[in-house]
């Protein structure tokens, strides 16, 4: 006796169409993410930070910071922040393409993230006089949040 195949065939077709949709959708999303995006003026990477210090103080500090050494690749604009909130610092990195941007973002190695960290360090230095360090961040890569071994002696 022949089996009634219609419902299972229909279900399979729906399944294949759904799977194809997921694959195509994922490919579109991935392609969009992998494409390096440019700002209006052609710079691929822009990061900005507001520093609670006067414009002139930031300008002087900038000349003495590692950010100042990147002049060839980095355009930095300083302007007074509204409401007396200090200085807005806009950094544009002359890098139009980034290979595997989604993957780099995932591991924190996207040039935009690295630029962001540089700006954050600069802001911290100016606002607090130092750089915040956690028990894990003093090491490269992921590391358990606990004191390091070089201080292994115990307190009494």
């Amino acid at each position: 006796m022949a089996r009634k195949r219609f419902p299972s065939t229909l279900a399979k077709r729906i399944g294949w169409v759904a799977l194809a949709g997921v694959v195509v959708g994922s490919a579109v999303v991935l392609a969009t993410r992998l494409r390096a995006r440019s700002t209006k003026d052609g710079h691929a990477i822009t990061r900005a930070v507001t520093i609670g210090r006067a414009l002139e103080e930031v300008r002087v500090a900038l000349t003495e910071s590692p950010l100042g050494d990147l002049d060839d690749h980095l355009a930095i604009e300083l302007r007074a922040a509204p409401g007396g909130r200090g200085t807005e610092m806009i950094a544009k990195l002359d890098q139009r393409t980034v290979a595997l941007p989604a993957l780099r973002t995932l591991v924190g190695k996207h040039p935009a993230q690295e630029l962001g960290r540089m700006l954050a360090r600069f802001k911290q230095q100016l606002e607090t006089g130092g750089e915040a360090r956690s028990d894990a961040s003093i090491h490269a890569g992921m590391h358990a949040a606990r004191p390091t071994h070089h201080g292994e002696e115990t307190r009494t």
């Binding site: 607090t128 915040a132 028990d135 894990a136 961040s137 590391h143 949040a145 606990r146 004191p147």
Partner: protein, 391 residues
């Protein structure tokens, strides 16, 4: 030293680890005399907070004695008895100057992780994942406290540890939850969740002028504590009655003027909606189960305020945005800006207006931390709050 370390989902153990050292002239080292397990530590315990590493030292509610200070520390001295706020704040950035200390712009060295998850980074926190800084926590014999001139508050010797320990988190968190409701005299406030934060939200709502405070939970002992200690005027057991109907009855059909979600990402419930959220969370299609939040929004009176102090980590589904928008609700949320509330709340304790130690049900040695987590998670032995001592 001994420290409570996270070693995976539902795995914590006390390990011998190196003592903390001064890493920055602004640091202090504190010998921990009392530390507590927070309800939000259970999210870490349950493996729901990403970016934990095996070996991370847990704990963000702690107090103790200053045993070492960095060269730049001016306000603390060796021997001072201090309570330490759970957010780490620099005191100098725009957020700190605006008294939004849990949003400090300078204390999360791993800000890039938080930015990828949330758009912007909040402050670094003690013992609460690498996305929030990778700082060792205070469930240990010693802890390094960065920006020691900004956070810790010196407490008088006349007050017991258990009276002031909760200034580190849950008392100010509950208070901020009530403060965000902008309570006026005669207001009715409903509080979802009668864990320790919920208890302090209830007590705080009354301090701030609420006329009636309605406590919502499913455990009798929590509801009883809400009534007898925190001062709730009414209680609702959500496993026995329909919460929205009960609230409408208690408020003459208006709904509460303000609703506080002190539950967060691991809400319980029953019926199809709860099954739906469990399934979606299990399949990682949503990170948090927002049953209490949905209920709070749908129950709140037109034009009322919903205040969220329960911890959420990521994304939720079926958020009733239409209700929020069309009924003109105000939604406020945040990790507590503890530093802002330390002194006024310490003053209330000193004046005898409140003794926060009423929430403590379990006192353990640090060595028994694993049992403490398990007992707290399963609400065994009517567990409300576990306090541990290193001695």
């Amino acid at each position: 030293m001994k420290a409570v370390c996270w070693n995976g989902k539902k795995k914590v153990q006390v390990e011998q680890v190196p003592d903390p050292q001064i890493l920055d002239p602004r640091d202090a080292i504190v010998r921990v005399t009392s530390t507590a397990i927070c309800g939000s530590d259970l999210h870490l315990y349950n493996g729901l907070i990403p970016t934990m590493e095996k070996g991370d030292i847990l704990g963000h509610e702690f107090m103790g004695e200053v045993v070492e200070v960095g060269a730049a520390v001016q306000k603390l001295a060796i021997g001072d008895r201090v309570v330490v706020p759970f957010p780490i704040a620099c005191g100098a950035c725009g957020a700190c100057k605006a008294e939004l200390f849990s949003l400090c712009e300078n204390t999360n060295p791993n800000a890039w992780i938080a930015e990828a998850m949330w758009g912007h980074s909040p402050a670094g926190l003690f013992g609460y994942s690498h996305a929030l800084g990778g700082y060792a926590g205070g469930q240990a014999e010693y802890v390094r406290v960065p920006f020691a001139d900004v956070g810790p508050i010196v407490v008088p010797s006349g007050l017991r540890d258990e009276q002031v320990l909760f200034l580190s988190d849950i008392f100010p968190t509950g208070y901020m939850g009530a403060a965000m409701c902008s309570i006026s005299r005669g207001d009715v406030v409903a509080v979802w969740g009668c864990g320790p934060v919920g208890q302090f939200a209830i007590a705080s709502a009354l301090m701030l002028g609420a006329e009636r405070v309605i406590a919502i939970d499913r455990f009798d002992y929590r509801l009883e504590m809400a009534r007898t200690h925190a001062g709730a005027t009414d209680i609702i057991d959500y496993e026995k009655v329909d919460v929205k109907e009960a609230l409408l009855e208690l408020t003459g059909g208006r709904g509460p003027d303000a609703c506080i979600d002190a539950v967060g990402m691991e809400a319980h419930g029953h019926g199809l909606v709860y099954a739906y959220d469990r399934l979606k969370q299990g399949l990682m299609l949503e990170s948090d189960r927002p049953l209490a939040l949905r209920q709070a929004i749908l129950s709140c009176k037109n034009g009322g305020t919903v205040s969220v102090i329960g911890v959420y980590g990521g994304f939720i589904d079926k958020f009733p945005m239409g209700s929020l928008m069309n009924r003109g609700l105000t939604l406020r949320a945040g990790q507590c800006h503890v530093h802002k509330y330390l002194r006024p709340l310490l003053a209330r304790i000193e004046r005898g207006e409140i003794d926060p130690s009423f929430v403590v049900t379990h006192r353990l040695s640090l060595d028994d931390a694993a049992d403490g987590y398990d007992t707290f998670l399963h609400k065994q032995d009517e567990c409300m709050k576990v306090v541990m001592t290193a001695a």
